[in-house]
């Protein structure tokens, strides 16, 4: 089986590279493709085999040689557009389209999950993170009419490696995952950064690392320039996200999906609860994680050591209990291939 894995963002690219590595070890041929990533990246990810714009790819002759295409694009609208273009071209050329699979990679719940599904309905196979997502989709679609063809759904677990790349550092390290647009309230991100600066000043034996979870350019500073900056409050260099998630003692965020890696690797998670459970803040997905804390409930950084690990039952349902995702993918693709032959 030859698989083409298409991605256009850092998280998606790293997931495709990891998936391709595992599938390659199992004897499958995998090609990664997508546009080059722009700006500083939080992850050190190798370039794809084929560097190409996603919309150009839909008409590329390479697609005639693959049995399945995995679409992992940041914006699911782009997935829908690609599928329409590709299937339209196949139909005009009277060619059978390759099996299309796709998924959000990160565990979505509730409204976000169903919104995402509605944009991926053209796929033959939908990959969701955990059993929780698969069950939720079952409940949400049980009475849909047969005319609305639903893709087959499988859970394939998390998008990052099962084991941490390194052990926690000896010196205590708080890793703060800073998101591009969350929290959405005006001034809230600056307030959060000021709080981190204040905590760092109070406990010089700790390091507080500010790590963006998205691409950035070198000219934009994270911390407001008016505040005197603590010596132990440090901006992470590009490409350091995974090593930092592995070496941190605790990981703080409002709702960055990368906090799941810290949880899965047994680091102390702090999901900032000050903004409540809200779709707008993407915090709904953390309902039940057991790691939501208000900032004011943490008096200083040493108190972080007493906070609990993530709720393991919740984490398992979100995808942590699945360790054979690529295997499940191959089985599901083979089953779809057999169905198509019948």
């Amino acid at each position: 089986m030859t698989l083409l894995l298409v991605s256009d963002g850092g998280l998606e690219r790293s997931a495709c590279v990891l998936m391709a590595e595992v599938l390659h070890q199992q004897g499958e041929h995998c090609i990664t493709a997508g546009p080059p990533l722009q700006g500083h990246q939080p992850l050190a990810t190798p370039a794809p085999h084929l560097s190409i714009d996603v919309q150009q790819l839909a008409a590329h002759p390479l697609l005639d040689q693959v049995s399945a295409i995995g679409l992992f694009l940041q914006d699911p609208h782009q997935v829908q557009r690609f599928i329409q273009t590709y299937q339209g071209l196949c139909s005009a050329r009277e060619q059978t389209a390759a099996t299309l699979f796709s998924g959000p990679l990160v565990p979505l719940v509730g409204d976000a999950l169903i919104r995402d599904l509605s944009l991926r309905l053209g796929s033959d196979l939908l990959l969701v993170s955990g059993e929780h997502q698969r069950r939720q989709l079952q409940s949400l679609t049980f009475n849909w009419p047969a005319s609305l063809k639903l893709p087959a759904v499988i859970s394939t677990g998390f998008w990052f490696p099962t084991a941490a790349p390194c052990a926690p550092a000896e010196q205590p390290l708080l890793l703060a995952l800073i998101q591009k647009q969350i929290p959405t309230h005006i001034g809230a991100r600056e307030q959060l950064l000021r709080q981190l600066n204040c905590w760092a000043r109070q406990r010089p034996d700790w390091t507080v690392m500010l790590q963006r979870d998205h691409s950035w350019d070198a000219t934009t500073a994270l911390l407001p320039s008016d505040a005197p900056r603590a010596d132990n409050l440090v901006d992470a260099a590009p490409g350091q996200l995974l090593p930092l998630l592995g070496s941190c003692s605790a990981c703080l965020t409002v709702s960055s999906p990368w906090s799941l890696a810290a949880m899965a690797w047994g680091r102390i998670p702090i999901i900032v609860g000050d903004y409540g459970i809200h779709e707008e803040q993407s915090t709904s997905g953390f309902f039940g994680c057991g790691a939501m804390h208000r900032l004011r409930s943490i008096p200083h950084l040493d108190a972080v050591n007493d906070l609990p690990l993530a709720n393991q039952a919740w984490l398992g349902g979100m995808g942590a209990e699945i360790t054979d995702g690529p295997n499940r993918l191959i089985h599901a693709l083979s089953a779809l291939e057999r169905q198509g032959q019948r």
Partner: protein, 214 residues
């Protein structure tokens, strides 16, 4: 022969503000109950509550018109057996927090406002910790059970109370004899965008055109 003991009357206070929530309260008070219930409804004052609805409610229950702040200071709040709260998120939280400090408090229950189309998780997060959450149907009950599984709220009690807001009319004109009329129930916020609303009007307008002109 002994007569079965009569079950004692229970007193229930319902708190609501919007007309749709008040309709839910009316449906609750109007339904037959196994036990005799003494209903009180606190209608939190707001503009535009239909007078006819208030008149109907007054026939079913004793009405009060206190604001939330007044209500939370009123010691009569503690004298009822149960309080049903039919308000939005933060107000649900305010009432639960105010009452959980009391050593002896009435049972607290709450519901959702009609069919839950979205934001279910947010809605649930405001309601957890109530003694009982009323849900519209099995879909919501299953979603809630999935959400709270493996969390400290796994034992959260729920009950299905359905969506019925009023009793269906028994003197309906047979379908064939009814005027050929389509009623469109317009909503304030759905669809939200101007372009979607314009499209909806066009679709309705097309429906109204005589056959053959579409």
């Amino acid at each position: 022969m002994t007569t079965p003991p009569t079950k004692p009357t229970i007193s229930v206070l319902l708190i609501a503000d919007s007309d749709s929530q008040l309709l839910a309260c009316e449906a609750l008070c109007s339904a037959p109950t196994e036990r005799s219930v003494q209903w009180t409804i606190n209608v939190i004052p707001r503009d535009g509550t239909p007078r006819a609805l208030l008149q109907r409610l007054a026939q079913r229950a004793s009405l009060r018109h206190q604001s939330l702040a007044q209500l939370l200071r009123d010691r009569r709040l503690l004298s009822v057996d149960a309080i049903g709260v039919f308000l939005t998120g933060s107000k649900l939280n305010d009432i639960r927090l105010a009452l959980q400090q009391e050593r002896q408090r009435p049972l607290l229950f709450c519901g959702f406002n009609g069919v839950v189309l979205d934001h279910f998780i947010e809605g649930v997060s405001w309601r957890l910790g109530y003694d009982l959450i009323c849900l519209s149907g099995p879909r919501d009950q299953e979603s809630l059970a999935q959400l709270v599984a493996g969390t400290p709220f796994a034992q959260q009690r729920t009950v299905l109370t359905g969506l019925r807001r009023n009793t269906p009319s028994t003197d309906l004109i047979p379908l064939a004899k009814r005027p050929r009329r389509l009623v469109f129930a317009e909503q304030v916020i759905m669809p939200a965008s101007t372009s979607e609303r314009a499209r909806l009007v066009r679709l309705l307008s097309d429906l109204a055109l005589p056959t053959g002109r579409c």
